[in-house]
């Protein structure tokens, strides 16, 4: 059972958003605030520990995870604008802390974690009003949102509320984009083949833009689009985090919203 609408939530921004996609984090917080929620952002937060966990460095991951757990002492929901970091905290913290002295705290945190779109739909029951121009987009659901968190449908439920947004279906939609954290580095050839297919299928939809709830996927997909535009003369779709997209579509246009909100192409070029 989702909790009734809380007054206050914790926000965990994720390290990737912190450094590469801060606008996604700011937008997510603004969406929450607009829904009347007070957002607490513990400044001491760094990373959920997932990179080390997936690389086999469990002691190191645990150390970092433990530092994050300490930042969320009150019994408030923890909202995370990323399926994979939410998945780390929700499904892997219990494994990582199994048999440790602070296992109970880890379980407590895990039980309070929500991926952003899940929170917006299931807990806040948001009602969005589309103020944007008609647009055709494609959605990429991250594997962790789909399989670890089981929230793949939330993003489209939100988009379904936007009158002028048409979501175009792509082939092989549930297939991984080939990011996989260290996988892209350790097995670059396979990862490259996967992202080449993913970008092709997205391009084939005819959409102009891709949204996702995971910046890891967006970094992979957006980077590949831009590379292909530069070196292979192919069309690049812009890529954007769902929080930014939703906020932008539902806010009245102001001079400042026009600039730099595209994450992939526009921003990288600046």
């Amino acid at each position: 059972m989702p909790p009734s609408k809380p007054d206050t939530v914790y926000f965990f921004g994720t390290c990737l958003i912190d450094l590469m996609f801060p606008k996604a984090g700011v937008s997510a917080i603004q969406l929450l605030q607009r829904a009347g929620i007070k957002v607490i952002y513990p400044q001491a937060q760094t990373c959920c520990g997932q990179p080390a966990w997936n690389s086999g460095y469990r002691a190191e991951a645990r150390k970092v995870a433990r530092a994050q757990i300490a930042l969320f002492p009150k019994p408030l929901p923890i909202v995370i604008p990323s399926g994979s970091c939410a998945g780390m905290m929700k499904t892997h913290y219990p494994e990582l802390f199994k048999g440790e002295a602070d296992e109970a705290q880890a379980l407590d945190v895990a039980g309070r974690v929500y991926e952003l779109t899940e929170f917006l739909v299931d807990v806040l029951n948001v009602n969005l009003k589309d103020l944007g121009e008609p647009v055709e987009i494609a959605v990429h659901t991250s594997c962790s949102a789909r399989r670890e968190m089981g929230v793949a449908d939330k993003i489209e439920q939100l988009l379904g509320q936007l009158q002028n947004v048409k979501v175009l279906e792509q082939a092989y939609k549930p297939e991984c984009c080939g990011f996989g954290g260290t996988f892209a580095i350790k097995q670059p050839e396979i990862s490259a083949a996967m992202v080449a297919d993913k970008t092709m299928h997205l391009r084939n939809t005819g959409a102009t833009q891709v949204v996702s709830q995971d910046c890891g996927c967006l970094m992979n997909i957006g980077g590949a689009f831009e590379y292909q535009a530069k070196h292979q003369n192919k069309k690049a779709l812009s890529t954007q985090h769902i929080a930014e997209f939703l906020l932008q579509r539902t806010s009245s246009p102001s001079p400042s919203t026009g600039e730099g909100h595209r994450m992939g192409v526009a921003e990288v070029k600046s």
Binding site: A52, N54, G56, R58, E148, A184, P188, I190, G223
Partner: protein, 469 residues
Amino acid sequence: MKTEFRIQVDQALGKQDVRAHFRKAMDTLMTNRRNQFPDNAELQRLRDQAQVIRANALSKLPELLEQLEANLTQNGIHVHWAETTDEANDIVLKIMQKHNATWMIKGKSMVSEEMGLNHFLESKGIEALESDLGEFIIQLDGETPSHIIMPAIHKSKEQIAKLFNEKFPDIPYTEDVDTLTRTARDILREKFYNAPVGLSGVNFAVAETGTLCLVENEGNGRMSTTIPPVHIAVTGIEKVVEKFSDIPPLLSILPRSATGQPITTYFNMISSPRKQGEKDGPEEVHLVLLDNGRSRIYSDPELLATLRCIRCGACINHCPVYVRIGGHSYGTVYPGPIGTILEPQKSGLSVHGELVQASSLCGACGEVCPVRIPIPNIINRLRYEGVHQEESSVLDAGSKRKPMEAITWKAWSWAATHPSMYNLGSNLATQVRKLVPNHLGAWTSVRTAPAIADKTLHQQLKALGVDHE
């Protein structure tokens, strides 16, 4: 320097036609499976049931194996135990020699692939002829299976037509699949009647009744196990189930997960050699139970789940890595996700440990596995075993540890637990972001380098005054 695995991957990725072929084949299998389970709730119930049956069997594996041996023996089947593949091969050889057999006909068996049986027998002057159509094809071409249920899936019908034409020049060239199949059948039919020994695998061995169950589509399994006077079955020790009533649920979910068939064409139950007065069946039946690292896997409560596998191949069919690199790139008997977790445990992390890096942990394998093996979790565990140094049940644990990498993770964890250091680092990164190289090795061979923001989220939120206790 590129590892051998990556070199093989490179070659496989370069073969556009093979890749297209794999994609098409896997698409069909995925669609077929989906169509078999229109009701998700039913699928989940079946998976629960299958998982419980397999987990239950493994929880009492030693007892069930004893019971199996007792019942088989009572039924007149000879039971042999082999700890290693060498031992298993020797057992088969001895049986062959006892009967002065110079060749055998084989039904499909992945365990015999694991043993390298064909090679071994060949070195002793004994021929082992594959009778499963896929196995027959790859044997003609001197290859190994590229998939556990469809060994020749990597070959197009044109390739097969050429191969047949080369090996059987008397038969007219054709690309017609039915004619090719019939040709193979005609050749094999002859062989079945004359074979002194038939060998097969086992899908399930029922402890309660001492019954060996064999699932197949082409009838060659039935012929290999009934026509020759001697039948040898080989199986891994994990294939045992407790009761006969365990079979129907497994039999229902296996072919539906594997090929999307509601049921296979043949289901064989072997419970004894030919009895007096019976018209057919072998005079002698042997079962070789192979360990080959399985009891080591069994000893670890988490890794034990690996042994639940019923070899349906669904994880392989749904794997985005397998579909691109094909089965041979893995360099193992079992490819795809199941190979990724099984092979490093069987042969050691120093031999096949790299496979656990060849996964994006997308979870597609775990999502389809009919017995709910948490394949991604086991991959994660094996990555841990590869780099951690304490004593472990996993073969060659720690062998993948690299000092530089270990130091990097230590440094990372230090920075990420000292927020001031972390922020200093990320702020510094935003300052020098224009200087960040836009060539980041493998990443930028197909993607542009990710751009660092001009202000981190931490900085922006501070400025916006978001409550930051």
